[in-house]
């Protein structure tokens, strides 16, 4: 059984009674279109949800999965669906920027001038010590991403 099949089997979506506890406690759903309960219902009915943009609004905080009375693995299932979405070329552009930043600088959210200023005020080094400031380490990260074909995957270039 491949990981996708296993995750689908363990998702427990068939146990969902549509109580709404997931959506009720969803911090992201209060600000976004994400309706976890509806996603689970669509998945249960066999609808293809991999094209839905709200799939990417989940912060994976696990509030819903922890409180789900029926043990539906909402978050793991959303992560699985994202994987499937990416394979179909449905990776939102906004996230692509973050991924490309990660590749180019070693940081998904590179240091902004505002943050640099705050660092200076509170007496921190201008730049944090991480991959972004260590070119030889950055090369290793790039190499991992090259080997796995990560960029092609998320860009939808992989055939």
């Amino acid at each position: 059984m491949n990981p996708v099949e296993k995750a689908a089997r363990d998702s427990n979506v068939e146990k969902c009674v549509q109580c709404g506890k997931c959506t009720a406690g969803c911090p992201s759903g209060r600000q976004s279109r994400l309706r976890t309960r509806t996603l689970v219902q669509m998945a249960y009915q066999g609808e293809d949800v991999t094209g839905l943009p709200e799939l990417w609004d989940c912060t994976t905080c696990y509030n819903c999965a922890e409180r789900c009375p029926k043990g539906v693995n909402t978050v793991d299932t959303i992560i699985l669906l994202r994987n499937l979405a990416v394979k179909k070329g449905n990776f939102p552009k906004i996230h692509l920027n973050a991924v490309e930043n990660l590749y180019n600088t070693g940081n998904g959210f590179p240091l902004s001038p505002e943050v640099a200023q705050i660092r200076a005020i509170i007496g921190l080094d201008k730049e944090p010590h991480d991959v972004s400031t260590a070119p030889e380490e950055l090369e290793k990260v790039k190499r991992i991403m090259d080997i796995t074909g990560f960029l092609e995957l998320v860009r939808g270039d992989r055939k």
Binding site: V17, G20, A24
Partner: protein, 843 residues
Amino acid sequence: MIGVFLCDCGTNIAGNTDMEYLKEELSKEDDLIVHESIFLCSQLGQDLIKETIEKEKLDRVVICSCSPKHHGDIFKECIGEKMNPYLWEMANIREQCSWATENKNEATQKALALIKGAIEASRTLQEIGQAKVPVIKDVMVIGGGIAGMHAAIEIADKGFHVYLVEQNPNIGGNMCKLDRTFPTDDCSMCTISPILNETAMHKNIDVLTMTDVEDVSGHPGEYTVTTRSRPRYVDFTACTGCGDCAQTDLVMETPTLSEPLWLDRIKIHEDLCNGCGACAKLCAKQNDPPALTQKEKGAISDYDTRKCVGCWVCVEKCPKKAVEIINVCPIVVPSEFNLGLGFRKAIYVPDSQAVPLKYLRDPETCLQLNGTMECQGCTTICKAKAPCQEAEEVRQLRVGAIVVATGYEQYDLSGTEYNLEHPNVITGLELERLISPSGPTLGELKRPSDGKIPQRVVFVQCAGSRDRRYAEYCSKICCMYATKNARLVKADHPEIDVTICYIDLRAAGRGYEEYYDQAREMGIKYIRGNVSEILADGDELLVRTENTLLNEPLLLEADLVVLSTALVPSRGTKHLIETIPLVPGKDGFIAPVHVKIAPVDTATTGIFIAGTAEAPKPIQECITDAGAVASRIATFLKDDQLTVDLVTSHINPDICIKCGECNEICNYDAIDTEGENYEVVDVACHACGMCTTVCPTNAIELRYYSDIQLEKAVDGILEKDKDSVIAYCCSQCGYNAADLAGTAKMRYSPEVKIVRVPCSGRVTIPQMLYPFTRGAKGVMIGACLEGQCHYIDGNIKEKDKVALAKQVLDLMGIGGEKLELFNISSAEGAKFVESAERMVSRC
């Protein structure tokens, strides 16, 4: 000749078993006569068995069909018409074979092995006689709630004497706490009050309050129950229930006490006092230190209640009658009856309408009983001189049958997303007290934090129910009682916004849907959405839910939140499950022996269940249960004697060396060591067989489940199929779990073949090792959960034996891992399958 009868059970067996092949194989043996029937349990099938016994002069019968737990009694009765009803064996080829095996060919081979085992075992059987056991016509009902009371009355009305045992100071249980009841909105107390009084006054009922059951021993028809009654420290007969001792001037602003109080016992009326100081002088004369002191002549005396012992000399001697008693007992604590709301004194009755209306003193808080001071408050004020010193009373009561009606309690949701810690988050039962006219607010809906009338009330359904983390089952009554409480709140205060958050509204019952319709008409708002969390903003509450029908997350503001908490077995119910013991279901409630056709019988003969000790249910179903129980008991106790089959142990006096080992291990005092020879007391023997495992000379033996019977069963199985793991399963749990797995069509390896034993503790070390000498791949033992052995501790004793046998297997080079004991309750089909698969994988 042995008659072998194969049942198709329609397609239940024949659909997954090659019956022709079985017939062909079995017919190869000379002394077998093989018949097949489409339904052996039918009249036609039974006639076939009886005719064949007669015609072929059979001396043994083997029935190959369903589980003996299912139709065993039918076949026993049928065969018993023609021969001794113990000269037959049953091969369970349905639950433990055709239903549990994926592949038809494998199922057929397994069936053949099981049948062969039964045939070989049947050859060893002996005729078993019967004995008459006297029946005690008294009955014990444990639990004085609505189910217990109604059962007690029904049984007592049939002429049996009943002991009604209740742990609380008053009878009536949870129903006494309810304001009104659905679907009629009757006042609960008005409904139950005549039943309370009838129970207390009935000439055939002895009510034992404040009493716990400590032990149950004996056997059906002759049980001995040990009870322990806690003292009231108030003479039961003398107390008139007048309430002089508990009078108070305390008026609470909010429904809850923030802490226990020590009130003033007396009040000096300034307008009457002339400052003579007589009170202080008398007080100082009688008490050291005095509670009353006068600073200067002419001043009103100062009073320190913490020094006052309640001698009342000041009240009696004040020339101006200026000193008034306002609290005979100064101690105030939260009321248990009101679930922590309201208050009671250290001397109290749980409720003003309590039956029996007899006061009691709480030894924890009573100043006299806990040794704080030589308090005389109630003892001097009581005209009947009822407050007294008392000791616990232990009784041994002999009864023929027992009814367990120990009820439910609410799931404790402390520490969860429901924020039960907040004073304004309450349970449904607490709301009942808040709106009950006899409750702490005299029926005025005031929220606990500040006593304000809430303007927004939210009911939260399924709080703990239908939830894998708390109680997986539906608590059945919550939809209706929340609807009822919402209606009562709305009827009293139409201006209050009442909202019910629900998952599914379950209104199945006479008049229920109509009741729900009316609730909607009254303006109660139903939101279809489970509650994710309850947040606090000071005294106010925020309820996170979703309107699932609008796909909209909601944050509801509320002044009061009422949780419809899950119903769980009460502590009393759990205590009896362990003490008697009884078989619990997966939900923890007491399991009936058959959920449909024997709903009030337990697995232990002579012990019955009624009410919510069995499952959450509304009052009307408790009453139905109670009536059914009374009928079952009348049937059970109708004769002066019960007939019991002597499937017990017996001792061969020729080889008994009177070492006493059997007496030592017997949990039922069933070995008579007084006479010339040691003898088994048949009526006391539970036929667990533990004695047979310790006898050094094999002098003691079970009449049924004998050593040779088990050995031959193993031989028969292994003769047909060496690829076998022999599973000795106790007939109380392991065997039932396997049946349950089969009924649910859970598949497991056909290598696992079950040999039934009465108790896991009956399996000896030689019996564990024997299958290996005959080529078996492994041996497993299916025992009850620890603490739930039907014979008290057979599974615990078996654990030690298994450990020893594993060492032997290691020494023999076979490997100790090929033998294992599994603790499986009868409700755990999946655990049986898991254990079986684990065993097969390592053998």
